[in-house]
């Protein structure tokens, strides 16, 4: 299959039954998207496909052929963090960190569409992501903070 990942055309040998998440993590060396519930409940595998927020565990690799995929790796780096990543650090919105990439991708997708979201809009946009350390208060803080940084 061929797809454009984080702006770069990539090729991968995949088996029909593999998910896009498996391709990203195990074929393309991009372990940022996490594998947890494997049923679309937890959001830790969230990526953008053709600009749309999806759970990559529910996308068949074959169905992602020819699509444009953005993962958390494209958003920023330790040296140059994305405003959402910066805000997560500043707000202390990270505990164990497993859910963080999914939240960061979902929050970045929200702010791209809606730079000044209300609290209700933030909650709705992050409803597909679960944090088991129960850090939702600080996660909401982080997204509000990121909105201030970016606007």
């Amino acid at each position: 299959m061929r797809l454009v990942v984080n702006g770069t055309p990539r090729e991968a040998d995949v088996r029909e039954h593999e998910s896009l998440l498996t391709v990203l993590r195990e074929r393309l060396g991009l372990p940022g998207s996490k594998n947890a519930c494997e049923q679309g409940e937890c959001g830790s595998c969230s990526v953008l496909v053709d600009g749309e927020l999806v759970c990559s565990c529910l996308v068949l690799a074959a169905a992602a052929d020819g699509r444009r995929v953005e993962t958390v790796e494209a958003l920023g780096s330790a040296e140059r963090p994305h405003p959402v990543q910066r805000a997560f650090v500043e707000a202390g919105a990270v505990q164990c960190g497993f859910c963080t990439p999914g939240f960061v991708v979902a929050a970045a997708a929200l702010l791209r569409e809606n730079p000044e979201p209300t609290d209700a809009e933030i909650r709705e946009a992050l409803a597909g992501n679960i944090c088991r350390c129960t850090g939702y208060g600080t996660i909401l803080d982080a997204v509000r903070r990121a909105a201030r940084i970016t606007t």
Binding site: R15, E16, H17, S19, E38, Q39, G40, E41, G43, S46, E52, L53, V54, C55, C57, L58, V59, L60, A62, A63, D65, A106, E124, A125, A127, G128
Partner: protein
Amino acid sequence: MSLFSYTKPRALSEALRLLRGGATALAGGTDLVTLVRHGVARPERLVDLTGIEGLRGWSREKGKGIRIGALTPLADLETSAQLAKLLPIVRESLRDAATPQIRNVGTVGGNLLQRNRCWYFRDEGVPCWLKGGTRCFAVDGESRYHAVVGAHECWMVSPSDLAPALIACDAEIEVASSLGRRRMKLADLFVAPQGKRRREHALREGELVAAVRVPEGALERRGTYLKAMERKAWSFAIVSVAASARIREGRARDVRVVLGGVAPVPWRVAAAEKQLEGTALDDNACLAAADTLLDGATPLRDNGYKVTLARELVRRALRSLAG
């Protein structure tokens, strides 16, 4: 996960030819992928329908109501301000369905045809009746989320949020196959598994749902969708109620009440709707109709609470139409 071949045709006719040959239809995949992953579905050939452009999007023709393509992502319906004005019940039903990630990918047709959520059905290791076994394990097992009414050999419940809402709008569906097209009431798509019919829908081999139609008359009615769930995200309805009615001089006409999460099909009882005709949808009328809807309910060990919940949810939904 079992192995399968994968094809993504551009033309509907090609997809229909492949379906006729026994292939399994794939749309958003948010349900099918998990069923295959867990060994509950074992398709040999998948036909990805998402390359077919003509089945995406919705439109309104004056006097002819609304037509929604089966491949329209749920998010497109949920976020359309224009549709929310014409048919607010659709947005209401989708807001609490699944998660934003799933609504971006999941389609209208896929939502209507999703498999049930019974944990015995979804467990590869449990040979339940619906999967060809001899009995329903919910009957004397863990039955918190199972049916309270309308069940025969299988006690699963219809999980869709969209289905009750659209049935309350008198929706019809266009069904396509390589042999042609037919129209049917959306309500008739859903069947309680029974006897030789170990399935949840009435599509014939090789058929797919091409579109949903809501007639013009339904746009004149008020509607609402209420859903009881354990939490606000990725939570299927414990009980849901879709209700619609035309209110004229304080009296209800053309009342529809459809329950989700209580029966193997979206649950509707003609007598309950009839007894609401001409009433002011006051508490007594609403509760009496709820009792008719739930008449004959036989809860299992763990789910009697659903009857209480449904009764109150029906009252609230109908009351809100009057207000």
